[in-house]
């Protein structure tokens, strides 16, 4: 397990990541990328525009506990079951968004 970081505390706060900003639907790749960027920006207390979508989640400070929270929130948003390990197999916003779009297309097929 990775050592706990401040991101875990943020990710479990009562104010779930920016629900207002994330009230979009997972209909297309751009929206999924926007959701992930907004989520990370909330956790890191940064502006969405400053989030590098090619950078690894690990280098953003996302530890295993934060990854579990992220995937749980993604499941709630997308309405599909996901492995918590996807954050490690698709370790940047761009890669994860591509994977999630594929999963959405598969579940809709």
């Amino acid at each position: 397990m990775a050592t706990d970081q401040i991101t875990e505390a943020n990710s479990e706060s009562e104010a779930a990541p920016a629900q207002d900003a994330l009230s979009i639907s997972p209909d297309n790749l751009a929206d999924i990328r926007t959701w992930l960027t907004s989520y990370l920006a909330f956790l890191l207390e940064e502006e969405p525009g400053s989030i590098d979508t090619e950078r690894s989640f690990d280098s953003h400070g996302i530890d295993s506990a934060a990854a579990v929270s992220l995937v749980g929130d993604l499941e709630d948003w997308m309405g599909i079951e996901l492995d918590p390990t996807i954050v490690y197999d698709y370790p940047s916003i761009d890669q994860l968004a591509d994977f999630l779009m594929t999963r959405m297309n598969e579940s809709a097929a």
Binding site: M1, T3, D4, A65, E81, D83, P84, T85
Partner: protein, 290 residues
């Protein structure tokens, strides 16, 4: 040095995890309530099949068939005790556990070949020596976080010394444990340590290899972290599928806590932070230096 019993997880710490009740575990474990990694032989294996494969793998590695006496340290809900007597013709199978719900469950087998004791392995005094010993999911709880490396090593050494003393000449031991892989003791997740398995630290593979020197030869070892990841995925899926019933039994917070722990362990095995190590040992009957 402190008494080694105080350097491992306490009865209270283990009760914290296991005394949540049999009914809760029945909702998401396999029918035998095997609470350690399964062993998958094919992509099509169900959890039930893979848990049976795990038991059979270990029993075959230690040549269990037809022996007189088996000791199962940390026997859990006793599925392997039952299988040892029904499928391997073991005459006397003795289980040790620290948790009352396990005793109640095993009592319902009404199997006269099985005896189960509410007892720490450090306190065990066998009536007669054993032919075989298995200990699956035990060494994870043997040492506490915060003790020195030397104290930790002494605990594992004590385990193998006791096994050696309990066994007949030529006896064999099967061990399955989670081990540190690409991680250090400092990496242990605080949530796991505080909320799931209090007072428990993991061994490394090197700890185990060192601890059995001149007592047991290693006859087989394999690492199966992907099997544990798949086991955890299945447990997590089943817990979610039975979330309403689980919440009725133990409350929403406990269900969320377990779901989080299963997810964290999946990541731990997936990323090789931890491994799942399976060992078979054969007793060295004339240890040097004794």
């Amino acid at each position: 040095m402190e008494n080694s019993a105080s350097l491992g997880a306490s009865v209270q710490a283990l009760e914290y995890h296991y005394n949540i009740g049999n009914e809760f575990y029945e909702l998401w474990l396999d029918k035998s309530l095997s609470y350690t990694s399964a062993l998958y032989r094919s992509d099509d294996d169900t959890l039930e099949q893979a848990q049976t494969h795990k038991v059979d793998y270990h029993f075959e590695e230690i040549h269990l068939r037809g022996v007189e006496r088996l000791l199962d340290v940390g026997c859990g809900w006793g599925g392997q005790l039952q299988r040892a007597t029904t499928h391997y013709d073991v005459k006397h199978a003795v289980g040790l556990t620290l948790n009352e719900p396990h005793i109640d469950w095993i009592g319902n087998f009404n199997n006269p070949r099985i005896k189960v004791r509410l007892e720490n392995w450090r306190d065990h005094k066998p009536d007669e020596p054993y032919d075989r010993i298995c200990a699956w999911g035990v060494l994870e709880h043997a040492a506490r976080p915060g003790i020195s490396d030397a104290e930790k090593q002494a605990i594992y050494r004590e385990f193998f010394e006791l096994c050696h003393g309990w066994l007949k000449p030529g006896g064999e031991v099967s061990v399955q444990t989670i081990t540190y892989e690409n991680a250090t003791r400092a990496d242990l997740n605080a949530f796991i340590e505080q909320e799931i398995f209090p007072e428990s630290d993991l061994p490394s593979q090197a700890d185990i290899v060192r601890a059995r020197e001149h007592l047991f030869e290693i006859t087989r070892m394999r690492n199966d972290r992907t099997h544990y990841e798949r086991t955890l995925r299945e447990w997590r899926h089943r817990l979610r599928a039975n979330a309403a019933a689980a919440t009725d039994l133990v409350g929403e917070d406990a269900v969320k806590k377990y779901e989080k722990y299963l997810s964290l362990f999946m990541i731990g095995f997936h990323t090789a932070t931890m491994n799942l190590s399976r060992f078979a040992f054969k007793r060295i009957d004339t240890p040097r230096g004794r």
